[in-house]
């Protein structure tokens, strides 16, 4: 069933917007904002706040009723394609499938120095109550830290005979995260290592459906728990496990 946003009644379609236009504050600016909102498909738009931001810009807060609607049952959803496993289960899967420890190499690449997210996934301490990958007996984790060159990642991957590579990107301005994730994938490809690896990316502004376009096996977004990542790795090396 198609639904619309809900303000205080079913399908009233009400949405709040804010943005800045590079137009001096004036009645003209207000009308331009209204017209722009109409182009976006809003009806009964109201500029409820308008403020000059210096002589050249105007900021607006608006409410309007969208003419668009959506059927939530019809959107494509990247649902978690693997079951969540417990620590003993993951250890068992690795032991049974590999007969050795799973080697994971993690890094923040490019100029990104935000290690907290990667550490949350990898380190003993973990995140949100979950222990990190280091805690798993059957995982051997190499955390390369911040601002690591793709070349260095390739080197360590070879030296350690890594099974999985985990890349974190937090800075997104001018698509830095896309650029950097792509560089690592390309470096691994050029080195002939991509195919045999599980390649995973993550960071707060990613969405799982970006995996395909980036050439990664899985992408994790904000609020990822270490257990999800560990379960995914187990799932990949063993294929789906019976619940």
């Amino acid at each position: 069933m198609e639904v619309k946003p809900y303000g205080d009644a079913r399908n009233d379609g009400l949405v709040q917007l804010s943005f800045t236009l590079p137009v001096p504050e004036s009645e003209r600016a207000r009308q331009a904002a209204l017209e722009l909102a109409r182009k976006m498909g809003f009806q009964r738009c109201q500029v409820v706040h308008m403020k000059a931001m210096g002589p050249d810009f105007t900021f607006f807060v608006m409410y309007g009723s969208t003419s668009h609607s959506i059927d939530p049952d019809l959107v494509t959803v990247t649902e978690r394609e693997f079951p969540l496993l417990t620590v003993p289960e993951i250890n068992r899967v690795i032991r049974e499938s590999l007969k050795r420890r799973l080697v994971v190499v993690g890094a923040c690449t490019g100029t990104d120095a935000h290690t907290v997210g990667l550490d949350a996934i990898l380190s003993m301490k973990g995140f949100a109550g979950d222990k990190g990958l280091e805690y798993l007996q059957e995982m051997q984790v190499v955390n390369m830290g911040a601002q690591v060159d793709p070349g260095d990642i390739v080197e360590v991957v070879r030296r350690e005979q890594a099974d999985a590579v985990l890349i974190s990107q937090v800075v997104t301005q001018r698509d830095a995260h896309i650029v950097h994730l792509t560089q690592v994938r390309e470096a691994l490809q050029t080195a002939g290592e991509r195919e045999r690896l599980i390649l995973v990316g993550g960071g707060p502004r990613f969405s799982p459906e970006q995996a395909a376009e980036l050439g990664y096996d899985r992408i994790f977004g904000r609020g990822t728990k270490p257990s999800e990542v560990a379960s995914f790795l187990a799932h990949r090396i063993a294929g789906p496990v019976p619940a």
């Binding site: 303000g7 205080d8 009644a9 807060v61 409410y63």
Partner: protein, 530 residues
């Protein structure tokens, strides 16, 4: 986090001045009290009929009229109301022998005449009326007991209580929104009324879906919402309070409906209707006294409306008018039998945020009210007048309101909506408001017990100034009298005359032989001054 505490003794205030204000309030209220005792109103009489079980409507669509209205109108035209509606009504009941509701319908339909019973039958009719009155009054008291029992079994909400408004106009949209609010942490739900309801001289009937910016207060709407909140309260292990408005031309009837449907709090001010709805002041004073006796017995906490003064007057210049009105409201509430802990005086965070030291001034005002009324379950109202379409800045303003509320130990926090300057609350506005308040109270409530103000500093000086101005104002009101003060526009910058406004024709001077066992029983039970 500490338990809720009402910080008192944080400001050194002039306690003699406070005592003088209380004395002045008693002096000023005397006229109002005697007016209230010597008059009745059509709504008061209808409320009594409702209490003994008269309900329903006659006629359809725009012709529909509630049965209590029709009965009172007929009694008024045929017998007069100077002696009250109950005796003529029970006289008809006795004559017709068909029970209360059927008798009422028959009178409404013009199928029965009404008359004052002959002297010899009067005693019997009075006895019958008194028996029904007793049952009715017991029912009101029973609601209070049921509330206590429910709170005992479901669980009591921790103070301060977060209070939110639903206002879709449609009771069936209101209900899920109220339940959602409760689930997110709201403790008190107010269903605000459709614009214009307060000027109707009757109470609409049944479940309604067509209010403007609020939902009609009807007995059925009360019942539906009460049930919904009981349900969600059970789920949450926290009794959720329900409130509405006992004001407007039907104040006594709404009070009675609220009492029997177990509402927990009611907006019920001694002057709001006069000032903000241009309701005649005599009508209002008579009605409020009766409705307060009902609330007193029903265990309902009243909320007064001084916050409203600051929507028309300047919140700095008029700060003392709020306090002065508190003393008056307090006095008129206690003579109607309300206990201290039932008198939820209302005040507000309404100073223009552009004013220098706004936060410090609000802190001074809020703490002063706390110091003057240490036992009152104060109701603190958020900024409204200076809320604009800048929802971000508005959200912050609401946060500072919450903070001042936390620091000064206000009991009831009406949560501000970031969209106050735009529209009646969205579902999400309410949820964000609860997040705001939860954060501030979780983070700062402990400071209520910690903070002291510099002796003789700005905060203390401001509080002293407001108290002094309040005292001066009350002295002046005592001179000109309550009616004169309102005629002089001393409250909320609004002028009203003694005989002006709506509803004066519904005020009837009680005759010598006025007989109303409900009023008598109520007064006795709650210990109201008779």
């Amino acid at each position: 986090m500490r338990a809720f505490e009402r910080p008192v003794g944080r400001l050194r205030i002039d306690h003699d001045a406070v005592a003088e204000c209380r004395e002045l309030a008693a002096e000023i209220s005397a006229d109002v009290e005697s007016l209230a005792r010597s008059n009745t109103t059509v709504s008061l009489e209808r409320a009594c009929l409702r209490l003994v079980g008269v309900d329903g409507v006659a006629g359809d669509g725009s012709e529909a009229a509630p049965t209590p209205n029709l009965v009172v109108d007929r009694v008024r035209s045929e017998v007069g109301l100077e002696r009250g509606v109950l005796i003529p009504f029970f006289n008809s009941v006795a004559q017709g022998g068909r029970g209360i509701q059927a008798t009422a319908e028959a009178i409404a339909a013009g199928e029965m005449t009404v008359s004052w019973p002959p002297e010899r039958e009067l005693k019997g009719v009075l006895a019958a009326a008194t028996a029904e009155a007793l049952t009715a009054v017991d029912r009101v008291a029973a609601a209070a007991q049921e509330r206590t029992a429910r709170i005992g079994s479901v669980g009591e909400a921790a103070k301060p209580w977060f209070y939110e408004i639903v206002a879709t106009g449609n009771i069936h949209e209101d209900i899920p929104q109220a339940q959602a609010a409760a689930r997110e942490g709201c403790d008190i739900v107010a269903v605000i009324r459709s614009t214009g309801q307060s000027l109707l001289d009757y109470v609409p009937y049944g479940a309604t879906t067509d209010g403007f910016a609020g939902t009609f207060a009807t007995q059925e709407n009360f019942r539906l919402m009460r049930a919904a909140l009981d349900e969600v309260g059970q789920e949450l292990g926290r009794y959720i309070r329900l409130t509405n408005y006992a004001s407007g031309l039907c104040m006594p009837e709404i009070a009675v409906m609220a009492a029997t449907e177990r509402l927990d709090m009611m907006l019920n001010d001694c002057m709001y209707g006069i000032i903000f709805r241009d309701i005649n002041m005599q009508r209002t004073f008579v009605d409020q006294h009766f409705s307060r006796m009902v609330h007193a017995l029903a265990g309902i906490v009243i909320n007064t409306g001084e916050d409203n003064y600051l929507t028309t007057a300047n919140a700095v210049d008029a700060a003392h008018t709020v306090l002065a009105s508190h003393f008056l409201n307090e006095r008129l509430a206690s003579v109607a039998g309300l206990r201290r802990e039932q008198i939820g005086l209302g005040h507000a965070f309404e100073i223009d945020p552009e004013v220098p030291d706004q936060i410090a001034l609000e802190l001074a005002h809020a703490q002063l009210v706390r110091e003057c009324f240490p036992d009152a379950p104060l109701k603190y109202m958020p900024p409204t007048k200076h809320m604009t379409g800048n929802i971000f800045q508005g959200f912050l303003l609401d946060g500072m309101f919450n903070l001042v509320g936390a620091l000064t130990g206000q009991d009831i926090i009406l949560l501000g909506m970031m969209t106050e300057g735009v529209h009646t609350p969205f579902l999400s506005d309410r949820d964000l408001a609860l997040e705001n308040a939860s954060y501030i109270f979780r983070g700062a409530a402990t400071l209520a017990g910690e903070i002291r103000f510099e002796e003789g500093g700005d905060v203390e000086r401001r509080a002293a100034q407001v108290l002094e101005e309040c005292c001066q104002m009350l002295r002046k009101v005592a001179e000109v009298g309550m009616f004169g003060a309102i005629e002089a526009g001393m409250f909320a910058d609004t002028v009203r005359t003694r005989d002006g406004g709506k509803g004066l024709d519904g005020v009837i001077r009680k005759g010598e032989s006025y007989l109303n066992p409900i009023v008598d029983l109520l007064s006795d039970r709650v210990g109201a001054t008779r």
